[in-house]
Amino acid sequence: MSVLKITDVSKIFAGPTVAVDNFSLEVGDGELVCLLGPSGSGKSTLLRMVGGFERPTSGLMTIDGDDITQLPPERRPTGMVFQSHALWTHMNVFKNLAFGLKLRGLPKEQITEKVEAVLELVGLAGYGTRGVNQLSGGQQQRVALARSLVLEPKILLLDEPFASLDQHLRERLREEVRDIQQRLKITTLFVTHGQDEALAMADRIVVMRDGRTEQIDRPDVVYREPQTPFVAGFIGTMNLIEGEVSKGRFARADFRIDIPIPDGPATLAIRPEALDLEAAEAGVAQVHRVTDYGTHGLVDLDLGDGTRLKAMVAHPDLFSEGQKVNLKPQAMAAYRDNARVYRS
């Protein structure tokens, strides 16, 4: 079982654009780590560097202590599943899986045995003779996964593997992949820009932005205790309010709240579900729109200077457009200089 260690890796493209900036990460044995970030955050470039498809400008990558930084992809013990699955359409399913084994010079019986075992694992037993174009999108992605797994890679790399699938299939497949990963205890690095996927599958999440790490933590911690305003805004829905703190009091428009931090600018973060509303004649915010989702309601608010907030309420019928309300945050955090300075 294997450990992937990435130390101070940077990638600078001609341009020059810094795609990955001094990135370090250790993926423990059997762990599934998710690289999460918006487009252009460098997560795919990082994954491609681990796979050997890009060469780092600087830095070191090791698998179980062996330096792989300069190895070409064919000599790395990594298996990659591509977003577009990249199956070889001129081979059938069996041949797609057997190609890598054949290159390793395995005897025929052993190849057949291994391929059939892996097809069984991904739930495609008996599909060996099918052409890959005869398969559905979900089946194709399973074959792509099987193609990587059959070689028993030390590190499994997944590059947005479900991006081309529809919502329903995506949810089913991510559970399957998680199950297989748990069963095989295979060390996995997973790239996605979908927070649901990351929250549902990962042991740890790396939130990336502009080629740098914003936060590395367990999913629940990332959600509950975002370390930076970027993470706070990127994971889940979050109200981010820019304002000034003066004498322990945060102010934005007419909204005031006590925060025991030194004077200066600050960003206040409040989850919609942690923002209670209280109808008041002279409220600091005005209800802009009320949406009833049946189980709960969402109230859009305006602080009067264009700042928009969302609050989740149990009884949306208590609120109506144009109504003035006061804000009662049950939990919040404050950020300054890209770091959290206060939490309640």
Partner: protein
């Protein structure tokens, strides 16, 4: 026809439904009839002549059918030498063309090097000038090099004719191979050469085969270069046909040769067009 069938089925299936009258496609029928007459009739006449022994004016149908002229044509020494020569020429030109063009096509598709675009479009130059004028200009140079009337002179001239096809079509083929397929092969342990052999080439294979086929058939029937550069020493099949037509020899010789040579090439070309597709065909010509 096809449009009528479902309507009939519907009408018979549900008695009460109002019969749908599909307007007759008169435009299409007129086009079909006129084009058939203009395209099929001439070839049909050639085909009939090939199997005719006696056909005197003004009979609509030949008086006597038979294979006598096949025998006569196929025993002529000049026919055999022209056929061998044409096959030799086409094979040599196609092989040479594949050998120099396919690596170039791969380079154009996958590598970046200085002047790539200019060089890529330079292959159009040969098609931007009236062909026979260009041939005369080339012939003037070959005259100084003593290449007129030689095998290799004709090879060169026909080789130039295949360049555009043999580079542009394979370039498109290589470009359409998904990079990720190649990367996936590297990922499972294939080296760069193995990737090319096992993934890139099979993926681009059918289109490249079609291009090779096109260049073989095109070279086989290439007339003007062979006529201008090759004569009098090099008599290819089309050059021989020209002299058959000009000298008004036995009519059936030309017919037999036409049928014999055209049918296999037609099958080959149909295959090529199926693979490349009409759209790509037209785009290659700038449509």
């Amino acid at each position: 026809m096809k449009q009528l069938a479902p309507a009939l089925v519907m009408a018979s299936g549900r008695r009460k439904s109002i019969p749908v009258r599909i307007p007759t496609d008169w435009t299409g029928i007129i086009f079909a009839v006129v084009l058939s007459a203009a395209v099929i009739l001439p070839l049909l006449v050639v085909g009939v002549w090939a199997f005719t022994e006696v056909w005197r004016y003004p009979n609509v149908i030949p008086q006597q059918f038979g294979l006598r002229f096949w025998n006569q044509t196929l025993t002529r020494a000049d026919v055999w030498s022209a056929l061998t020569l044409s096959l030799q020429l086409s094979t040599v030109v196609t092989l040479l063309s594949a050998a120099i063009c396919l690596p170039a096509a791969y380079a154009f598709a996958r590598l970046s090097f200085p002047g790539r675009n200019v060089l890529f479009f330079s292959f159009l130059a040969g098609h931007a000038f009236p062909k026979f004028g260009l041939l005369i200009a080339i012939a003037a140079i070959f005259l100084q090099l003593n290449l007129i009337g030689t095998f290799w002179g004709v090879v060169l001239i026909q080789l130039v004719g295949t360049l555009l096809f043999m580079i542009w079509i394979p370039v498109a083929a290589f470009q359409s191979v998904d990079r990720r397929m190649e990367e996936a092969a590297r990922d499972v342990g294939a080296g760069p050469f193995r990737v090319f052999w096992s993934i890139t080439l099979p993926q681009a294979g059918p289109t490249i085969a079609a291009a090779v086929l096109l260049s073989f058939v095109g070279t086989f029937y290439e007339t003007e270069g062979a006529w201008l550069i090759g004569a009098p020493g090099i008599r290819t099949m089309p050059v021989l046909m020209i002299s058959f037509i000009n000298n008004q020899m036995v009519i059936q010789y030309g017919a037999v040769l036409s049928v014999m040579l055209w049918v296999p090439s037609f099958i080959a070309l149909m295959f090529a067009r199926r693979v490349i597709g009409g759209g790509a065909f037209a785009r290659g010509f700038g449509g």
